[in-house]
């Protein structure tokens, strides 16, 4: 174990942590939009509670980077522009319907779990402990998505919506693990990650394929394989984003005094 981030991989590590933080931040922001419009009152509570957790986790990682770069958490969370953002495009688009929100959460939560476990099992103590804090707050997110996946296919309409949500989101998930090879090597060599994003992608593919095989819905397993093997046409890990992204950045900008 080393107490803090090794100097020779500092840049790659902080860029990676910003990607993880941005994932959490936009996930939380999008989930928060379900308040008062979700299918039931209990879902209002559940989705916004999950949103609050994810924003808390974003803050954990932004705090780490802010300390290292002598900047502030707000500057990192709110002040960074389009090209500096490193979140996967999976989490940035508007939720189309409730099935979309659930499928998105399911796909993202599986990836988030793998990233956090890889950091927890790494050699950098401060990061491993931070990952443990986040991991302790995650199990009910996965239970929530899993329960809804079991329920939503009960009607033809639900089945169709789930299938559509998987198709769209699997396509958007292809940048989840698409970090540059040189960055992946640096993270593993430095002990920041116990397993590289490429290895995590394989586990993710196996798990998602298994879940889909257990659901009575029709989604081609090739779509899962494509998600991890195809080179993403838009890669959020490189600062590339969808045409829905500028609007979400704009609505997050703090209001100025004369707007209030």
């Amino acid at each position: 174990m080393t107490p803090s981030i090794p100097d020779d991989s500092r840049t790659e590590t902080l860029e990676f942590l910003l990607a993880i933080a941005d994932d959490e931040y936009f996930t939380g922001h999008r989930l928060g939009m379900w308040l008062a419009v979700s299918p039931t009152l209990e879902e209002d509570n559940a989705l916004t509670s999950i949103a609050q957790d994810e924003l808390g986790h974003a803050r954990l990682w932004y705090d780490v980077v802010a300390d290292e770069r002598s900047t502030t958490t707000d500057d990192l969370a709110i002040g960074r522009g389009h090209d500096d953002r490193r979140n996967s495009i999976l989490v940035e688009r508007e939720h189309h319907d409730f099935a979309d929100a659930i499928v998105r959460s399911y796909l993202y939560d599986r990836a988030e779990l793998l990233f956090l476990e890889s950091i927890r099992d790494g050699d950098v103590e401060a990061l491993a402990d931070t990952a443990s804090v986040a991991l302790n707050e995650e199990p009910f997110h996965r239970e929530h998505a899993a329960k809804w996946l079991e329920v939503l296919h009960a009607t033809d309409e639900g089945t169709e919506r789930l299938e559509r949500a998987f198709e769209t989101n699997l396509e958007a998930a292809s940048d989840l693990f698409a970090f540059e090879e040189s960055q992946q090597d640096a993270l593993v060599d430095a002990g920041v990650l116990a397993r590289s994003p490429d290895e995590l992608a394989e586990t993710w593919e196996t798990e998602v394929t298994k879940t889909l095989s257990e659901l009575p819905i029709d989604v081609d397993s090739q779509a899962v394989a494509d998600a991890v093997s195809n080179s993403p046409s838009t890669n959020g890990r490189r600062g590339e984003h969808t045409d829905e992204f500028p609007a979400v950045l704009e609505e997050m900008e703090p209001a100025t005094i004369d707007q209030i």
Partner: protein
């Protein structure tokens, strides 16, 4: 993880030098805004130091998205600043080691029990209480 590295807060309090003891005593008066239990007995305070009138409180939160974060930090600053011999205070929020219910003192467990909150038995590994 490094759970065992944080000694029982009540022991830290009792063995602290007189000046630092006063800071610990002030922290005992700060409650979690959502629970009528001191942040010391919740095991949130990891370390207290006092040098030349400058107090540093190293502490954590029960939950990373804690909406009461600013309120707790303000309460801690106010309580510690009121201690004689303290000119300034710095609150250092840390997440290493991760907090778990294992950090709650026996006093804290009794108080939570009075309020009808049942805690899992203390576990030997960090975080296990949250995932059982």
């Amino acid at each position: 993880m490094t759970d065992a590295s944080i000694p029982d807060p009540r022991q830290q309090l009792e063995t602290a030098p007189a000046e630092e003891r006063a800071v610990w005593d002030a922290l005992l008066t700060v409650e979690d805004p959502e629970l009528p239990v001191s942040i010391v007995d919740l095991g949130l305070v990891y370390d207290v130091s006092l040098e030349g009138g400058h107090a540093t409180v190293e502490m954590t939160l029960t939950y990373s998205g804690c909406p009461a974060r600013e309120m707790i930090v303000d309460d801690v600053e106010r309580a510690v600043t009121s201690v004689s011999g303290v000119d300034s205070v710095e609150v250092d929020l840390v997440y290493s080691p991760p907090w778990s219910t294992d950090h709650i003192t026996d006093v804290g467990r009794d108080e939570l029990s009075e309020w009808g909150l049942a805690l899992p038995e203390k576990s030997s590994t960090s975080g296990a209480a949250c995932t059982q």
